[in-house]
């Protein structure tokens, strides 16, 4: 446990992206259930695009942007364990965010 006492904990860059993924998972489910309850799936903004779907898509876009921001931030770190592992994990989280949440674009919502 020697080294610079002011250095940031090494797990932060590694955990950040998937923490956003996990918060996003909860938020998407919460928004979906709340929107269904409030009837947001009945109000169409454009043909076939309901308020609820738009809200979920915007939330997903925000999550993706947050994960991308983590990736960009990590690329500025000095080379080392935290950067290598953090970047790999964050790229996996970016792919996973788009893959596992892509249902908001087309699945029945309520």
């Amino acid at each position: 446990m020697s080294g610079r006492p002011a250095s940031r904990p090494v797990f932060l860059p590694i955990l950040a992206a998937f923490t956003i993924w996990a918060v996003g998972f909860l938020a998407l489910y919460g928004l979906q259930a709340t929107g269904c309850r409030l009837g947001w799936q009945d109000a169409e903004l454009l043909p076939g695009v309901t308020h609820l779907r738009l809200a979920l898509c915007l939330l997903l876009a925000g999550l993706a942007a947050a994960v991308v921001a983590v990736v960009l931030r990590l690329r500025r770190l000095p080379a080392g364990f935290a950067r290598t592992v953090g970047l790999a994990v964050s790229l996996a989280a970016a792919a996973s965010t788009l893959f596992s949440f892509s249902g908001v674009f087309w699945l029945s919502l309520c």
Binding site: R37, F99, G103, L107, S108
Partner: protein
Amino acid sequence: MAGCGGDLSALDPAGPFAESIARLWWAMLLGAIPLFALVVGLFLLTVLRPGFGRRLSAKGWIVAGGLALPLPVLTALLGYALFQGEYRLGRPGSEALRVEARARMGQWSFAYPDTPGAPVTVGVLHLPAGRLVEITVTSEDVIHSFWVPRLGGKIDAIPGHETRLRLLAEAPGTFGGVCAEYCGVSHTDMRFTVRAHEAGRYAAELAKAETGAE
């Protein structure tokens, strides 16, 4: 396969929605057999033939076995399952006959808003054969789950909330139904019977149906 028949067998479908679930099950089983054989075969080769595992680098094994093998398989299965789910869900309203299922601990009761004069039946759900039925499911107390394995999928019965499920029995007959979410000591008693009547006699059969014991 003796355990796969009977009143509550999801592998003995009696309508299109249950059939789509059974198809998914068979697709997963048939897909799992060659994959299992492949993984066990590779494992045995590495054990029995020293040096076999070294043909691929450690990174190669991770990419091949950890990404290249599972990702396409799981993606295909997920896509198939989601598409089938959309098919079983359908669009609300439409041409379906509406039935309401109400759960409470130890008991299912069914109401028939589209059939004037029909009684509320307890423990027995009456359906017309060959006609699409949309069940609106809710609960009076805790969370239950409505399941008629030979006719369709499960749907949770949630207090203060209505969920929908479509069923279709292709031919007249009697089918078993259960609560599929543990809900207390009366959970095992929460069985019910589905009677699918000939469509022409449905209204008459329903009118003379017994309300059942409270």
